[in-house]
Structures are given as C-alpha cells and as structure tokens.
C-alpha cells in the first residue's frame, strides 16, 4: 500500500553540545499512514519527536509539510500548520472539564463585544466537544465532567481525541499507551485507527512492540541517533524488531558484509 507523503524530514541532525542526538535522519509520513517510531532509550526518538513537533529546531536538514519547506520557530506554529503533538508528559489539565481541555487554546468566544473581551461560548464548546469525541469513538457521559474524575484510560483517550479532533494533517503520539491496561490500550489503538481512516498521518512512538506491530503500516527503528531500519510493519516480527532496536540484527548484517 502506498501513501501520499504529507510530512517529511530530510537529513535532519541535532546535537546537544558534543552529543549527537540525531544524525542525518530522513523520514516520510503519508496521509492515512501510521508510522511507528521505535528505539531504545537515548536512541533519538524524543529528539526526532521534538523536531517534528517544532519544539526544537534541527541544526541541519529540511522539514516539509505537503511538499513545502517549513521552519518551526515554535510548537504553536507547527500546531497552526496542522501538526498536532501529544507529549507523554503534557496530558490534560485535571481541574478543567473534558470540553475545556478539548478546546484549550482554541476557545470559541461568544458573539459581539463580550466575545472580544474573552467571554466564552461554553455551552457550544461543551456540545461540540462531546460530538467531536463521539465521532472518533470516545463516548462519555458528559463533557462537563472534570478530567480529574476520569480514569487513566479515559484521560488518555480524551488527550488523543483532542489531538485527532484538531489535527488537520499529522498527529504525533509520544507513548500514548504507556501505563494503560490491555483493554484501555486497545481503545487507544482503536482511536489511532480512526485517525488513520480520517486521512491523518500518524507518528506513533512506543516501547510496547506488540502495539506498534498491531497498528502501524510502517516502522522506523532508531539507534544511536540514526535511522537503522525503515520498512513495512509486515517485514518485522516481534523478535526481529527487537533485534534491530538492540542492534543485534544490524551487527549480524555488518558481519556478513
């Protein structure tokens, strides 16, 4: 299956002092494609995610969205261009309601002068949030509940649902199934499949290899700051994927050459 490329990085590098965190990495993400990003701790996953999301600017290389070159001066610019990122640590504001979280940073003001003063159309946002979440397979009793009243799985679902709702081109999900039970993780994977059906490019970062193998079209393996393997998910088994991550398989190939 081939996908039309929506997001691409070419030959990006990033160093922190003398440490080369990312070395000449190139990666394509297609519309409707789920690309898994795997690698050991320190392999450069986080750095690549930060470059993709606009949190960090690479030292070299290009970033192309819909074939056009972009420089993300801040995550907000990437966000406005259609690239949504769900960070592992960011999550939701627990004291705000589901609807307030979904609309955070993109509130709908009331009409007229009160709207210009910052007064918000809270009922409309509550109704819209509920409808949007339901559309991608998340149905809650009420979008007016505070996030602190939700279970861990529900919170994660809302967080991802929020990204999927707003993303126009690409969503980057950093460890979205971490700390979740099997059933909840399954529902998160289901949301990812819905995002794919909507034609979004999805970057899925995870340590949980069965999840990666289950949901991804293509898997990219990072090791020591380099992309060491980029192949369709069907190419890998759990064992060979682990082999590429740890370097065991590459070492064998090098020995054979």
């Amino acid at each position: 299956m081939s996908f039309e490329t929506v997001y691409e990085v070419r030959n990006v590098s990033k160093r922190y002092g003398s440490v080369v965190a990312l070395d000449d990495a190139s990666l394509k993400i297609g519309a409707g494609e789920v690309v898994g990003l795997v690698g050991d701790n320190g392999a450069g996953k986080s750095t690549l995610v930060k470059v993709l999301s606009g949190a960090h600017q690479p030292d070299g290389g290009q970033i192309l969205l819909d074939g056009e070159e972009h420089v993300w001066h801040s995550p907000k610019i990437a966000l406005e261009a259609g690239v949504e990122t769900l960070y592992q640590e960011s999550g939701l504001a627990p004291h705000l309601t589901v609807a307030q979280n979904v609309f955070l940073g993109r509130e709908i003001p009331v009409k007229g002068i009160l709207g210009k003063m910052g007064f918000l159309a809270r009922k409309k946002m509550a109704a819209d949030a509920e409808a949007d979440l339901e559309r991608i397979g998340i149905a809650f009793a009420s979008s007016g509940r505070p996030v602190s009243a939700l279970s861990g799985g529900q919170r994660q679902a809302v967080a991802i649902g929020r990204s999927v709702t707003w993303a126009r081109k690409v969503i980057i999900l950093d460890e979205p199934t971490n700390h979740l039970g099997a059933r909840q993780a399954g529902e998160v994977l289901h949301i990812i499949e819905n995002a794919k059906k909507q034609g979004l490019g999805v970057v899925f970062i995870s340590h949980t290899l069965p999840h990666v193998l289950q949901v991804c079209d293509r898997i990219v393996v990072l090791r020591l700051g380099k992309i060491v393997k980029d192949a369709p998910a069907s190419f890998f088994t759990n064992e060979t994927l682990l082999g590429y991550i740890t370097g065991a398989i590459q070492t064998l190939q090098e020995d054979a050459e």
């Binding site: 995550p75 939701l92 004291h95 955070l104 998340i138």
Partner: protein, 346 residues
C-alpha cells in the same frame, strides 16, 4: 472507557453525607457565617445582630476583599502574591503624594470638590499597583524566582518605598468621607458608595474569572502548566497579566484605604496580605493551583470579619483574633485535604 464511572466516584459509607456537604464550599461557608452570627448575637445580647455591625464589617472588608480577589486569581494560577499588603500602603502613599505635590491638592479640598482629585488619585493608585505587578512578573518570568520569594522581595521594597515617600507619616490629601458612609441611616442600611463600588468590581472580576478566557487560562496554567503550554497558551504572558491584575486590585485596595482615612498611610496595608491569602484559602482555593472561586473568597472574607468583629463584641482580647484566624486557615486546608482524599479513594 466508554462507560460512566460516575457511580464509583461517590465515596461510600458514613463519610458520604459529610463529603457531599463539604463538597460545596459555598454552602458550608454560608452555614459557618450563619452559625457564627447567631453565636455572637446570643453572646453579645443581640448587639451583634444590628445592621451597624454589618456596616462596620463591610467597611473593614473593602480593602481586603479587593486584595483577596486578586489573590484568588494568583492562587488559581498556582502562585502566591505576598506583596499586596505593602502595595496597598505604597499606592495610597503615592496617590496622596502625587495629588498633593504635583496637582497641589491638599487636605483643604473636601466633599464634592474632591471628586476629580480622588478620580485622578485612583488612577495613580492603580498604576502604582500595576507597576508592582510588572516587577513581580519580571522577577517570576525573567529572573525565574519562585512567586513566594519574588513577591516577598517586592513586599519589602514596596513597604520601604512607602515609608521613604511619605517620610513615615500619613499624607493628608483631598477627602470625601461621605463616600465611605452608609446612605441615610447607618442603623438601617449598611451600604456606602465605596462598598457598592467594591461589590461591582468584585462581580466584574468574578465574571472574567469564571466565564472568560482570562480565568480559563489561569485555571489551565495552575492545573497543568505543561498542558497549558502544549495547548499554545503563552504561559509567561498570561502570568504577567495575573500578577499585574493582582497589583491593580492592590492599588484599588490602596485607594479604598486612602478614601477611608482621607490620607495615604505608609502602614495602611501592613499584614493585609495574610488576610487576603487566608480569605482565599478559607474560600476553597488550593495553593497547589487550579482551584478557587470568587464567591468562595467573598464568603471567606466575610467569615474572617464575622469572627473578628464577633470576638471584639463579646469582649475577647484582640490578641486572640490572630489565633482564631490561624485556626480558620488550618481548618480550611484540612477540609480541602479531606475533599482531596475522598476524591482519590474511588
């Protein structure tokens, strides 16, 4: 994930009823005020129940409620503003100083003739408060000093500056005491022009905090700064607004104090920050951020003043009021802790 977990959220057993009652802080606070009112009325042989007492409570309450509203915004953001009391002193002194030395308006201007001078004075007091807020915001956002220490520094600086400018003496400028007196018979009506002005300001502030973006972003930052940043909120810029607003409320508090005294006193706001913080916490705000209501803060302030006036009326030594305030704060925080545990024990 799709099923409602609401049923599991309710704490079971004996705690359920208490938890439910406590979960509405406003109802609890109204009950506390009523119980205190009845207690003090009986103890004072009916004196406490008089309108004039309520009049005094409201008049005393003016500056503190303004500070407490600003403080609530700061506390919701996850910060604290210790500088507000000193800002009251500084803004009342600066206002008096400018009125007297720049505009040559002195204590001979009284009554209606003082309207324009007092309006100009209010503007100066507000600008002074805003300036202290800007300094707080720079210390917190740029110098990356935690709010507690940053505002402790400005508390000290503003307090010192107030004494330097005033020479340690109250500066007597234009005055109009009818602004602070009840309309008509004070035995029948507890409201003065200033109290009504304060109530209007508090209501407007409440609308912006609970219905508008200003409040929403403040809650978001106090609840989870990471999430707020991730949602594209400019956290530093918003916190600057929060501290400047707290300064503006302190400036208004300073002007309230000036109008009450007819003078800018360098000690008029001393210690007020503690009452403002106490009122905020008693009103249900969490110093961890993300929680707080203006209605709660208003009621929290009334609890404080009911206790203070009540103790005075039943001839308890004023020294005891500090201890009672301490007990109230500890009690409020304990209730908060109880609510937190009952929510977590699902």
């Amino acid at each position: 994930m799709t099923d409602s977990k609401q049923d599991q959220l309710k704490p079971a057993g004996i705690g359920a009823g208490i938890a439910k009652l406590f979960s509405n802080q406003s109802i609890l606070l109204v009950a506390v005020i009523l119980v205190l009112g009845i207690f003090f009325s009986i103890q004072s042989g009916g004196d406490f129940a008089k309108v004039m007492v309520f009049n005094n409570i409201l008049t005393d309450w003016g500056s503190i409620i303004l500070l407490a509203v600003g403080q609530t915004l700061v506390v919701i953001s996850g910060g604290i503003d210790l500088s507000v009391g000193a800002t009251v002193s500084l803004s009342s002194v600066v206002s008096a100083f400018v009125m007297m030395n720049v505009f040559k308006w002195d204590g001979t201007i009284t009554g209606d003739a003082a309207t324009v001078p007092l309006l100009v004075g209010t503007l100066i007091a507000v600008l002074t408060g805003a300036a202290v807020g800007v300094v707080n915001a720079i210390l917190i956002n740029v110098a990356k000093i935690v709010p507690f220490i940053a505002t402790l520094a400005t508390l000290s600086a503003a307090g010192g500056l107030a004494i330097i400018i005033s020479g340690g003496q109250p500066l007597q400028g234009p005055s109009n005491f009818s602004l602070i007196s009840a309309f008509g018979d004070p035995r029948l009506n507890p409201f003065s022009f200033m109290i009504i002005a304060v109530i209007v300001v508090v209501v407007i502030a409440g609308l912006f905090i609970h219905k508008a973006k200003l409040g929403l972003y403040t809650y978001a930052i106090g609840s989870n700064t990471f999430a707020a940043r991730g949602a594209g909120i400019n956290v530093e810029r918003h916190l600057t607004k929060v501290y400047v607003l707290s300064g503006v409320f302190a400036g208004l508090g300073g002007m309230y104090s000036y109008i009450r005294l007819g003078a800018g006193s360098p000690t008029s706001g001393s210690g007020m920050e503690l009452y403002a913080i106490a009122a905020t916490v008693i009103g249900g705000a969490s110093l961890m951020g993300g929680v707080g209501r203006i209605l709660g803060t208003v009621l929290g302030t009334l609890v404080l003043y009911t206790v203070q006036s009540g103790l005075l009326m039943i001839n308890v030594s004023p020294d005891w009021k500090q201890i009672v305030v301490a007990i109230l704060i500890a009690g409020a925080v304990a209730v908060q802790g109880f609510k937190f545990t009952s929510k977590r024990s699902k």
